[in-house]
Amino acid sequence: MNGNNEPIIHIENIHKRFGKVHALRGVSLRIQKGEVVVIVGPSGSGKSTLLRCINRLEEYNSGKIVVDGIPLDSAQNINAVRQEIGMVFQSFNLFSHMTVMDNLVLAQKIIRKRSKDEAHKVALDLLKKVGIPEKINAYPSQISGGQQQRVAIARALAMNPRIMLFDEPTSALDPEMIKEVLDVMMALAKEGMTMVVVSHEMGFARAAANRIIFMDEGQIIEEAPPDQLFSNPRHERTKRFLSKVLDH
């Protein structure tokens, strides 16, 4: 679409402090349209914080983030950018007082100004795509974690985002449900969605990622395509981390 090689997400030297905790220490990252980037790293290394900075759920102290040509600097821009970015959370965060259908329809109506019929059609198509059209009238508490997470993905997709962010989408799930969610993500990656995924599912990373980013103590230590990073990590810290997560 854009002839030059302008990245769809451009992060430049951002710093984030929570009081005394320096959670991000000068992170820079460029992500191209259609890329799938998986972020790994030990607990507390700043993965979630980085992800949340991209749609400004977290404010950063310094640095610059430009998403799809829009700098994250005014409230107006932030809401505009959020409409372009879908986010999937570890704890699903479905609206618990609404049915699956209403979860998918709400923001379509308010933000995208779609008619009821149109929004319903989009919702139903997406529920088919994630494989649970029959749960359309269920409440979130009535469906399994894996189903909830697939609904959450569909809810984000209903806004036609250009980028999807995933923060450990499978780590709250029982093992038998992980695959159904990863399959949906895999299909999305194949369609060419730009994705930034925090996950320790190394199988998924190997199969879907163009690039893996290893973070530690608020910094990007190393980034490389999965084969290269898994077989031949350059940094000692990456090696130690990978040996822990790849073992089992």
Binding site: N55, L57, N79, A80, R82, Q83, I85, G86, M87, F89, S91, N93, L94, F95, S96, H97, T99, D102, L106, A107, I110, I111, N137, A138, Y139, S141, Q142, A152, R155, A156, M159
Partner: protein, 275 residues
């Protein structure tokens, strides 16, 4: 709105939502309401003098009590919602003002507040009118009903703010984040996602406030309003039969509070949902 949506869902889905069972049985405590109403009826039939005379005499007082309670309650819901939002606001000025309001109101007895609004507030308005030369302020006359409602809304609004604040804060942070991540702004997220859930959480304490208000409304008898309590006082001083008068007044209050409690309970059960 909620009920209609539930009707669309299948019966099997309904079974899993407590309170939304297709055949919600009547709450058994209704018989207590019937019992007390029955006692009132029996007393008025078997001994119309004085019991039926008392009822006829205090009848308009029941209306005043009901109007004060219902109007104040509706208005204080709005005050409570705004106050609750103010208490969690990140804006320092708004936060300070609402916190100050809540703290001050909670430190003064309700009766003193009602008396202040009725006897002191009009004088303050008149003084301001005189200083500024605005004649309609200077000529301001106290309207007992309006000032009583104002006093209740002002006082109960503070307690209600705390209930709303707690209710909003009880909703997991992820709900707001999910709404914001879909591009909704703060107010859209509050209106469509947070408040509908918070309201279900706060229904029991809000219902209790309604019943407390109904009882506290008897305090207005101190500020020249002919509510149920004041009409009782008037009847007694004319007829010198304290036992009959105050027993009947108490029974009428009891019927109203028991009835309200059942309504609150019914609404609670209809709107309960699982997280």
């Amino acid at each position: 709105m909620l009920t209609s949506r539930r009707l669309e869902t299948s019966d099997s889905a309904l079974k899993n939502i407590p309170g939304a069972e297709p055949h919600s049985r009547l709450d058994p405590w209704w018989w207590l309401v019937v019992l007390v109403a029955g006692i009132i009826a029996i007393l008025s039939i078997t001994r119309p003098d004085p019991y039926w005379r008392i009822i006829l005499f205090v009848r308009d007082g029941i209306g005043v009590t009901a109007i004060i309670t219902v109007v104040s309650f509706i208005l204080m819901l709005f005050v409570g919602m705004l106050g609750g939002l103010g208490r969690i606001s990140k804006n320092k000025a708004i936060n300070l003002i609402t916190t100050l309001y809540v703290e001050l109101v909670r430190g003064v007895p309700l009766l003193v507040q009602l008396i202040w609004w009725y006897f002191a507030f009009p004088v303050v308005i008149q003084q301001i009118g005189r200083w500024t030369g605005i004649s309609f302020l200077a000529a301001y006359r106290a309207n007992a009903l309006v000032l009583a409602i104002f006093g209740f809304v002002f006082c109960y609004g503070a307690y209600m703010s705390e209930i709303f604040r707690a209710g909003i804060q009880s909703i997991p942070k992820g709900q707001m984040e999910a709404a914001r991540s879909l591009g909704m702004n703060y107010f859209q997220s509050m209106r469509h996602v947070i408040l509908p859930q918070a309201i279900r959480v706060i229904l029991p304490p809000v219902g209790n406030e309604f019943i407390a208000l109904l009882k506290d409304s008897s305090l207005v008898s101190a500020v020249a309003l002919a509510d149920l309590t004041r009409r009782g006082k008037e009847f007694m001083s004319a007829n010198f039969n304290p036992i009959e008068t105050w027993t009947m007044v108490a029974l009428i209050y009891l019927v109203m509070t028991l009835f309200s409690a059942r309504i609150v309970n019914y609404i609670e059960r209809r709107t309960k949902f699982e997280r």
